[in-house]
Structures are given as structure tokens and as C-alpha cells.
Subunit: 273 residues, 2 copies
């Protein structure tokens, strides 16, 4: 029996960049069993030596050479890591040279720098957008004048997490409005949404999946019954169609994909925080 | 006068990986003026040709060769992009070969694959953790038994966004408890927190920065007065010290850094969603 191949995401900062690209690389190799760990804030020689030792030991235990996805910029620290004997994949290294030649200047980066100095303005944008999403969740506060986008959909169709994600990562003020059974009976766009038609975006979901999600939330309720879910989804989708509201089906998408597709569709250009 | 250097983050998926690594690369080159854009979901030949044309035109307008940070896996689509004449930086390309040799198998990845098929279990973990964070925000619901971590700090010290980030990205159930002026007068840990001492994590912040944040929220209030902020922060910090609660100062950290440091400190091993 062979153990899983050890993989380490190593960084002088949070490790998010290393883990993001590393995870993408691993998904390219179907069927291989990986055992991955993040080693964050490795920003001095002592920590780099300790990290190298951790990596070396993991390789020994697994009986396989570890893989290291490394975003540490300081080549001295990277060299210490390499003493672990792992296959080193330095995420930035292949690109720094070509960029230096293209731009005609040497890089100025320092340790930890790659992961961003904190930017008060960015922090404020994120926090304000998050507060906005929290106070405009589920139709409680309906002053939609300031919204960048208003997500509309039946209960449990993914509105809240999508709004929070867009706020935290893009500083987008995303409100959401749940289509209640009353709204669906009414058969047209709820009155309070009409003035904001151009900001509306519909979310929909496979009814069986919806029933599954609602079942976890309120087991045995009529709200979670498959027929109820099918009916609500059908009416909501027909409403989106007749009102000309763009729609995304979230069933097979991650929160990141939903947010990214929606921003593209709305033509909202925002940088990722 | 020269225009900013055009930069494109191009992806067959959300573009998040491309933008994350691209942003890190750009921060290595201080003083260069970049104009960056994301081109997401470029997953067929038509879209790749259109993207190449957009990139080519941006270079012409700026009078400078564009930089492309590309996470498209399909080499045929990448070749179409390269016809833009941009400096192509293919994020995965340098690592696929070494990984294939190390693992002894060819990669199995397909277009869009790098960014993950949706995983229902992962979605549910994120949503459940997010719901938990929402219902355990600001001490409203105090059933902390299920919390992975409970953030403690004065009002506006960054508890809510940190909790939401940890929920959305790590599936961590993070509750938070705001230290009110009453709690601070009481001078010891609020009673309801005592049984959960090992899950507590303190957040603190530079008092001047806190005053600035509160001032935006409630202009001219006594709550936002610098003396009030200094007093609250001093008492909260002394409480953390006397109760032996670990503390992070958020003033110079991004939300990502706070979350990542806290997980490291608590020994919570979670993968990034």
C-alpha cells in the first residue's frame, strides 16, 4: 500500500496564491492521491529551515518525494526550502525574468510583498460593501438606490453567499431579494423591484438540488418538498423570462464562478481583492 | 506622455487564479503604471480569437506590448491568444512537465478543469459555515458549542468580515462577540464566553484607525471620539492579556492575512475553497 503523495503550499504570506495555483495543478492529475498542506508566513531563515524539515519528514513517511508549490520571493529562503529534497515549483520564478526584460527594469519586490501591503481604501471598500450586503440581505432593507446589483431568486438559491462573496472580493454592493410564494403567486415583478430592473439578476437552481438543500435546513417541511421546489423554480424562471431578467443556474457552479459570470454579464469591471 | 502598460488576466474559468498570481507579479515592479483587465471564461476558439483582438488593440492604443497572464490549459487556445503579440505568461505551463516526470503520468486536465468541478459537499460546507457566521454575528445568538473559533473585540475591529471570510473560504464556523462598553467596565471575560475560552481569539486595532472607521459609520458620535476609542482598545487589550487570549492587531493586515494567521495560530487545518 502506498501513501498519498505529500504536497506543500509554502509562502512568505498567507499562502493563498500558492494554494490556489497548486490546487489547480493537482486537478490536472486525476487519480493521483495527494495529501496537501499549507505552510504560511515562512518569512525568515529559521522558519524556512523548519519548513524544509517538515517537508523532508513528510516525504520520508510517505515514501515519496514531496511536491512544493512555493511563492516565496526571496531566493535565499527558497534555497533553504529546496534542501528538503522536494520537487520545487517556484510560482513566480519563471515570469520575473521575462517581465524584467520586457519592462526594462529589475524587480523591486521584497519578502511578503507579493501578497500586498494593506491598503486602507481597499479595506474600506470591502467592509462597506460587506455591510451593505448584510443590511440588504433577504429583502429586509429595500433602499436599492445604491446597489450595484440585486440578486433575485427563490429561498436557498444561493443569493446570500454570492452577495457576500462579491462584496468581500470585488467591493461590489450586492443586495438580494427572495421571491416568496406570495411574490410568485402575484406573477409579476414585485413592485419594489420595478424601478431597479436594470440591476436585477436572477439565480435559479435545479429543483431536486434545491429540495436537497432545503431538506437539510428544514427536514420534513412542506418548504422542502420536491413538488414545492419544482413549482417555485418553474414560476421564478418564467418570471425571469417574461421580465427579461438575465439568469444564472447555480447548480453546477461554485460561488466564485457565479460571481465572476455575473460581473462579466453586468459589465462590472472590478479588481479582485 | 506614455500610457499605462496593458495587462490581461485571461482564463478559461473565473480568472481568479490568473488575477491572483498576476497581481502578485505586478507588485514586484514598483513604479510601473499598469492597466489591468480580466478576461474570464475564454473557453473556445472564437472567444480566444476575440480576446486576442482585444489584447492587440489595447497594445496599439497604449503604444506598448501588453502582458498576458494566462491560465488557459488548452495549448491550442493559448496559441490563438499569443497571436495578439503580447508577452505571454502561461501560469501552469512551466510546472506541468516537471510534475508529469515526477508522477510518471501524463496530465489529464481539460479546459476549465483547473478551476474545479463543482463539489456539492464543498458548497454545503461553505454555505453552512456562512449561515453559522451570519446567525452568530455580534453576540446575537450565543450557542457557541459548535463554533470552531469565536472572535472577540470592540465594535468595528474587523470581526464580521473576518468571520465571513473564514466561512466562505475555509468552511470554518466562526462566531463573534463584540466587547461592549458594559463588558469592558465589568473588567473580566463576559460570563457567556468563559466556557469557550480555548476557542477565543482577540482582534485589536490602532485606536486612531478605529476612530477613523467609526467616524465614517457614525460621524460626530461619542462612539467615534478618539478618546473613547483609545479607552476601549486599552481595556480590551488588557483583558486579552490578563485572560491569556491570543490577539491579532488588524491595522496593517488584509482580511486574508488575519484569517490565515488565525487559522495557523489555532492549528486549524483547512483547505481553501
Amino acid at each position: 500500500m502506498s501513501l498519498a503523495r505529500p504536497v506543500f503550499y509554502v509562502s512568505d504570506g498567507t499562502g493563498i496564491t500558492a494554494e490556489t495555483i497548486g490546487h489547480s495543478l493537482l486537478t490536472q492529475f486525476d487519480g493521483v492521491d495527494f495529501d496537501s498542506r499549507r505552510l504560511a508566513f515562512v518569512d525568515d531563515a529559521d522558519k524556512a529551515r523548519r519548513a524544509a524539515e517538515t517537508i523532508r519528514q513528510a516525504g520520508e513517511r510517505a515514501g515519496a518525494r514531496p511536491l512544493v508549490i512555493n511563492t516565496i520571493v526571496d531566493s535565499h529562503l527558497s534555497a533553504l526550502l529546496a534542501e528538503s529534497g522536494a520537487l520545487m515549483m517556484d510560482v513566480f520564478a519563471p515570469f520575473i525574468g521575462p517581465m524584467e526584460r520586457e519592462l526594462g527594469i529589475a524587480r523591486t519586490g521584497r519578502v511578503g510583498r507579493a501578497h500586498g501591503l494593506v491598503d486602507f481604501q481597499a479595506y474600506e471598500n470591502r467592509i462597506n460593501a460587506t455591510n451593505y450586503a448584510l443590511t440588504h440581505d433577504d429583502g429586509v432593507d429595500v433602499r436599492y438606490e445604491d446597489a450595484d446589483v440585486i440578486l433575485v431568486g427563490v429561498s436557498r438559491s444561493g443569493k446570500t453567499p454570492t452577495c457576500l462573496y462579491m462584496a468581500l472580493h470585488y467591493g461590489v454592493r450586492a443586495a438580494n431579494y427572495p421571491l416568496t410564494p406570495d411574490d410568485l403567486d402575484y406573477g409579476e415583478l414585485p413592485k419594489r423591484l420595478k424601478p431597479f430592473r436594470r440591476k436585477l439578476y436572477g439565480l435559479t437552481i435545479d429543483p431536486d438540488r434545491l429540495a436537497q438543500i432545503r431538506q437539510v435546513r428544514r427536514p420534513g417541511s412542506s418548504y422542502a418538498r420536491p413538488e414545492q421546489c419544482r413549482k417555485e423554480v418553474a414560476v421564478a424562471e418564467s418570471l425571469f423570462r417574461s421580465e427579461g431578467i438575465p439568469v444564472l443556474n447555480i447548480t453546477h457552479s461554485s460561488i466564485e464562478e457565479i460571481a465572476s459570470k455575473m460581473l462579466s454579464a453586468l459589465g462590472i469591471e472590478r479588481h479582485l481583492y
